[in-house]
Symmetry: D3
Subunit: 273 residues, 6 copies
């Protein structure tokens, strides 16, 4: 791979930039056109709007995905789209405030987002996800988008690649969570994600209070089944353990890991014909 | 209508609240459950992610809808969901950075959002919109949602009402824009919306520069037609006229008008059977 | 624009033709092929099949849209397809006889109609609409059709334009209705539309009878909400004021206004490459 | 079956009525509500808008279905909805003027039409069809509609029945066509259907002219395949044989046969619980 | 047609092959690539999984379609895909064990199967069907697939042809069934299809027992209507008459007839450009 | 949980049964009705029809899923539906013979299968899967099905649970594959799955031959990207290592592991209200 082709696959990766510089929302279209001359990558934050236990914020997954995406963008210089804050949360619909897209709807959303970006020449779509319930549908959407790109004969269809990166499953994050919380990390409304929201939104601290033992984690099915098994919305977690400083650390760990992962994703880029 | 029925349709409207208090993302599910005992209204900001001329921000419509929604929420005490930042912008796809949902996709998104909220007992869904291109699809989605609510036999289906409020067509906003910019307000990448983004995101000021006369506004069709008619993305507008202080004023005018409109929308509520 | 390009965008506009000559249903395919050499425009009447109060005809919107379309076609020489008589009338489903397509269905219908016509080389699709409830969905369908035409690489995709024209909102029509009926025009089952049906279908005169004050107009939501607010289906209207001669006049006014609007829509046509 | 149950399943079948009386479009909703007390049947004409050879009218299938439906309605007193004039004609899209709904779209249309009618209490939906290409999709739509009615728990879901009646395959029609035209009846743009249009629309007579031998009929596949095999759109037919008087006779034969078929369809009705 | 074009349209038809040789499941992709050099045909078995009366196997339609397809493949050397065992059986959902795809779903399945095969160069898709309820939807799916192939500009779109062949309506099969069972053949859970399953799966013999007179056949509507009219699932049939030897004979008759039909379908092939 | 409730959630688990006894295809509807009195579980095999390298069978994933399902059924006495042999294989469409359902289509298929089974009272749907590409879509489909079951008010909606079990990721299988093949197991067209097909279909042995080093495994994107990276279809695997005896062992290991997993899935069942 020639030097110029490397340069087409990545922005000035060495130099962290301002958050303003990598928010797609704050760019103009000529700036994006210019950006595409040196980088074909873009970050799409994907969250959810769903209950997070009796003390956690309903926006936890979108807040954390959005913050992680901006920090990864800042470190890598890769553009970040606005977050898709509504995700697939059908199983949480038994709790007030949850807003869910059906899987078929979220599939269509991500399909359209990928196709829009691919039309402009983006070839590496890096989705930073904050919600386990989105994983399956997001992957299905990528497959659907590849198929559409190919059947439409979109230029660059064969170079289009999407990647799903869950900040909460980055190995340094999991390691730190285990170290801090052990088994009390649980599987939903976890102290690690709650900690990150405490760091991002200090007002949330006032909700923190000791909670009884949570119902244990288990497989996830429909909304009524979920609420019966997990009456307060938690799955084996103790969010009272969360602290804002932990959250700051989680953001650092996740961003570092995902930034490295994104760099490799971009480096795999092949020169345009 | 009895006093108690009034009180079920509205929060303490007299007292403006903190923004944190009305962001659904920062609430827990028990807080939402409690909120629903006194108010059945909710605000959903709807934006778009699309080119706004050579100097405007791609996120203009989502930034402005989001800010307007939070301010209306603060004034009325009505909960605000996160913004749906991707909207229907098919005609802008000829410009780099635009991300568009097909009308059928956006229809499904808004349908699912409304049905999710209605399931919890929300009966007044107030969509604050920042993009003209969303209007038709949003209204179609409301009709689809009413139909689904009825055919599913959802409790409260007959009390479910959605309302679309475009901040940029509020009459005090239009009046002020005419007064400030006259004909140079135009129809896309207008100085009024750009001014609002300058107020919200000071870093955008650096993009401002004088521009040649814009192509005149006209009907909107497909992406290639749009780009041919409007080569730099503007429709008859002169965004260089925009100033941050104007934006502050537009936010004030829009929020006041929409808050009043929302209060009437809520007051129309009827007591549950 | 050269004379020849003008001639490609329009039939012999000066000479009103027989209704038979402009009904697509009465043409053969070679005649349509020949027609396309001098005009790329076509009229699509769009109606609805829904209750129109206790004395109005269920077919009002399709009858009026169809008659208006034929008259506009006769005056301009532009071909008229058969009417799509079923429209989006979900909110009227609480009244016997209403037949409604869901918004997603009507969107698909109009999408397919536009794509079929565009495939043959039609570039100006002029939808004459008789029902307010269709407006949002029709506009969403146009956007969807433009997107499909572009992504399919349809020749002429960049020249394809659709326009929605509501006969009942043509300004001479509104002016005349205000003059004849004042506030009693109302918003559904209006005397103006009923008058037009009396002109078109004399047998309807026998249904006319004085009615009590109608429920006032208001926003439109779901079917049960609609029926509760508007128990006899009317929205603030007094259809007993309607007379067949008024209807004749409305047809004249609407057709003249829409014919002029259509001429401008066609004149905007650009020559094929 | 008791007399009263018979009376609920059928209008005054003995007395032919005026066409105006059975056009749903010319009824008001209270009249439909009243009608439903004595008859649960309704006729839906289904046509197509597609090429019918070099001399046939593009509207043939909708014109004939519509006329047949009105005549059957007149003879039986059963209500007739407006015609769905756009059908499934994908294979004719190679000829100018053809307008086709994709099968998935037509399926949705008929599904929604049936569900709308079923909601009001109609239990016998009798679709009079003018186009062979609609048959498969219409039947699929009926199955989809039954399924939706059942899964929605629609009252009367178990009594809902749809029936597809093709006027052109009624045995007296086929017999007469064979007698008049023999093998030259062919399979598309047949003299029998053309004759019926000549009866209905005298202006069409001017298109009639001798044609060369048509390409033989064969299986129907995609549009390009169709046009290659059938360059002028006909399938083995000689429409020049058609005469208006034949058409009058076909209308008589088809209407008599279908009216009898409809009576049996209605007689099978069971009393409501 | 030249000899070479004939050879491209058909494998060595004279020589029956092993079943292993024509099962697509047992081929590798290079073998399929090689096969396509001499034959563009492929067989797709389509069944259903639905009740077949009190003694018949739920898998009857898939078992018989699959066996017929393999035997036709063996005789003609044409490749056979695996069976689509779930079909459209909405009307049988009132009986335990029935698994049904909605018409819109089966339409999508067959659409995707045809498009997948067409992409590889298959031009003759021969669907051997075991269930009457699939017929309409399969035909609708073919039309949808032709349309997609054309609008995608798929190479060979104009040569793509699909054909539906129901083994149970092959005329030698019908003749034999009439001869063996007369009127007691009926229309669902027929002795002919049950006989074929007895031949294929000897263990089924133990279910055979005399049954009371079946409810008479009639039109098919929704699941509850079906169960009420046909309480044990049979439609006028006497499956106790079925014998395994009959089944062997039916398989022979059906395979011979369909193999001949398939040969003609392939012979109609035209040379690639 | 009482003894009787345990017995309602499971058949006589101690006694392996004949394969014929647990094939849904070979049961009658009264037998299924009877079965449901003692067990609410059912196994659905899910495969794919896609290239498996230059020597592997296209049906590998459906053959192995089907065989595994039958063996698990035999060991547990749980009913097994026919296999869904077409899966989501968009990325393999660059190789002849691959048949793929789009993710949205497979989602609809599994949704309809689950809803059909749930309607009869099945509450534990155990999908035994043979293809990694199906995983995401299958999980999305489960979420969609739970949502539909809940919104339809299906009895037992809150007890409906689906579980996806991939035979090839059962830990004893992975351990054995690592032991036999080490790194040469690879990720597609693996020796373990090929071995299983050699055991099931001895005729496949003739395809086995030494192959050059495979392209290394990597992330999966669109079909053209896949073929460019993996020119012969393999991902880092050496299928020549596969032997039929290995396959027998893999079947044993997978079936034992999944049978145990299924027993636990069933034991979790709760008594009906």
């Amino acid at each position: 791979m020639t030097e110029s082709s490397t340069s087409t696959s990545s922005p000035s990766l060495a130099t962290p930039t301002n958050v303003e510089d990598i928010r797609l929302q704050l760019r103009s279209w000529p700036e994006v056109e210019h950006y595409l001359q040196s980088c074909r990558g873009v970050i799409v934050p994907l969250g959810s709007t769903e209950q997070h236990g009796p003390t956690g914020a309903i926006g936890t997954d979108a807040l954390t995905a959005g913050a992680g995406a901006l920090e990864v963008g800042r470190r890598t210089g890769v553009l970040v789209t606005p977050a898709q804050a509504f995700g697939m949360a059908e199983h949480h619909l038994g709790f007030a405030g949850t807003v869910s897209l059906q899987p078929s709807t979220l599939l269509a959303v991500l399909h359209d987002v990928v196709l829009s970006l691919a039309r402009h020449g983006f070839e590496r779509i890096y989705v930073i996800n904050g919600h386990g319930g989105n994983i399956a549908t997001a992957r299905a959407a990528f497959a659907q988008a590849y198929g559409t790109a190919a059947s439409r004969g979109l230029p660059g269809a064969d170079r289009l690649r999407c990647r799903l990166a869950n900040w909460f499953t980055a190995s340094p994050v999991i390691k730190e969570a285990r170290s801090l919380y052990g088994e009390r990390e649980g599987h939903h409304a976890t102290p690690s994600e709650i900690a990150l929201t405490l760091h991002l939104e200090p007002s949330l601290a006032s909700k923190q209070r000791p909670l009884p033992e949570a119902a244990p984690a288990g497989p996830i099915h429909g909304p009524d089944d979920f609420r019966r098994r997990h009456p307060d919305g938690r799955m084996g977690s103790d969010p009272f353990l969360a602290q804002a400083e932990h959250g700051e650390r989680f953001l650092e760990l996740a961003s570092a890991a995902l930034a490295e992962d994104l760099r490799q994703f971009l480096a795999d880029a092949e020169p345009a014909d």
